[in-house]
Amino acid sequence: MNKTIIVIVLVVFLSVGLIGAVYAGYTGVGMVLAGGPSARVGSIGGPLIVGGGPGSGK
């Protein structure tokens, strides 16, 4: 394959990765969502445990 094409593809790939990393940091990808849908409400009991039975530890 033509080396120029390889270099262009590599530079595009690396640029997209770099821009993606900046964008992820800008929007907070992977960070804790304060007050989001998974946040607990009220006591510190944590997420509701569904299921179980005798001896299940509930």
């Binding site: 940091g25 960070m31 804790v32 304060a34 946040a39 409400v41």
Partner: protein, 410 residues
């Protein structure tokens, strides 16, 4: 410069000065230049040395073909001069401090129609065109840090390593055989390369200049040049990746401290008694929270401090748990002390509006209360992905560069 490849075989044009017979296999051997001291039989690949006692023979083996189309008995045109390929020597060098680090390179002996002799060397950096220099001053090849070039000029020694002859073919103007050991000294004199080869009997100094890519293309053809410079292409790819990695790390460091300060205040926290204050957040962009423990920690104690955010809809989220500690000890008779008195984490508010911020000390902490400075910055940019990107791309890039440079052309 000749614009077309000029390595096509023209073996019949060079006059033969003398014909010998190999003492081992009887194959005819042609001598093309005077002062030849070593012939390598083209049939049995044995080494025939010319000496006062006559011809001596030692066994050899066939050399692998070089990556470039330079063959014994052919003509090559370099810088408009036609050269006859007389002989080739393949060397192996190694790092004396790490003998597993080895590399090989080729050197061709070329003769012109007017009787001049030159060495064309091919290593990982490409072709170098070497001409012999006369040794004009005393030179200790094992200790001197510069190489005398004459007229008060000296070249700085940049590398010194042991090497051996892997094999040879054709005819050579010095006594050589497979396994011969030598010391190589490489020097730099501006754009010129200086190469010193030292054996137990001889010391030769050569001055050379690297052939430009256009010259290699013109001399050996585009395919050969592509194959040759393909080794450096890996280095180019690696260098580009390292460049991006450095850019990512620089951006990560720059954006790490960015953001609009929402609060920067001291609070007092105690076990079971959180410090609380209201703060307005806008949804969607990261907020960086940094805690600085202002109360000194006694030796070998710790304190864990949480940051809990209560959103306008009363939902609570632990956004940060920072561990502060002060440790001491003795390691191999040396006293050491390490402390961690600040820590940072980022979160993204899901809702806009007034939130309640609670700074809590964990029950297990070894202090009862602490003065903590709380700094919060809105619209910050997380740099974790940038550091990760920089590390991954940089390591791959450095590996490629290392591979490319350590893979010597042969």
């Amino acid at each position: 410069m000749n614009s077309t490849p000029s390595t096509s075989a023209q073996t019949a044009a060079r006059p033969v000065l003398r014909e010998l017979k190999c003492p081992n296999c009887g194959a005819p051997i042609a001598q093309h230049v005077p002062d030849v001291q070593t012939f390598v039989c083209g049939r049995c690949h044995g080494y025939i040395n010319e000496s006062l006692e006559g011809l001596t023979f030692s066994s050899g083996s066939k050399l692998p073909q070089p990556k470039v189309p330079i063959r014994i008995g052919q003509f090559v045109t370099i810088r408009d001069v036609r050269w006859f390929v007389l002989g080739r020597v393949v060397y192996q060098g190694w790092d004396p401090s790490e003998t597993s680090d080895r590399w090989t390179w080729n050197e061709w002996l070329l003769g012109s129609d007017d009787g001049r002799l030159f060495w064309l060397s091919l290593d990982e950096l490409g072709f170098t065109w070497f001409t012999k220099l006369r040794v004009r001053e005393a030179f200790d090849p094992h200790r001197d840090t510069s190489i005398p070039l004459g007229n008060d000029r000296r070249a700085r020694v940049v590398e010194r390593y042991p090497a051996k002859v892997i094999g040879a073919e054709g005819e050579l103007t010095w006594r050589a055989k497979r396994g011969d050991k030598l010391t190589m000294i490489e020097g730099a004199d501006g754009e010129n390369k200086i190469s010193v080869q030292v054996t137990t009997d001889e010391l030769e100094i050569h001055q050379g200049r690297t052939l430009k890519k256009e010259e290699v293309v013109a001399t050996f053809g585009k395919d050969a040049a592509e194959k040759l410079f393909g080794i450096a292409f890996v280095v180019e790819i690696g260098a580009i990746m390292v460049l991006f990695a450095v850019a990512a790390l620089v951006i990560a460091l720059v954006v790490g401290g960015m953001g609009r300060t929402l609060t920067n205040q001291n609070v007092m926290v105690a076990r079971g008694q959180a410090a609380e204050f209201p703060l307005e957040f806008a949804a969607g962009r990261p907020v960086q929270v940094t805690l600085f423990l202002q109360t000194p920690l006694q030796e070998n104690t710790f304190a864990d401090i949480d940051v809990v955010i209560t959103a306008p809809d009363e939902s609570e989220t632990y956004v940060s748990l920072q561990e502060f500690w002060h440790e001491t000890g003795i390691d191999e008779g040396e006293f050491w002390r390490e402390q961690r008195l600040d820590g940072s984490e980022a979160f993204v508010p899901y809702q806009s509006g007034m939130h309640e911020v609670a700074i809590e000390m964990d029950e297990g902490s070894m202090i009862d209360e602490a003065n903590v400075r709380v700094e919060m910055k809105a619209d910050s940019i997380g740099n974790g992905f940038l550091f990760g990107y920089g590390a991954v791309v940089g390591i791959i890039g450095l590996l490629l560069v290392f591979m490319g440079l350590s893979k010597k052309a042969s």
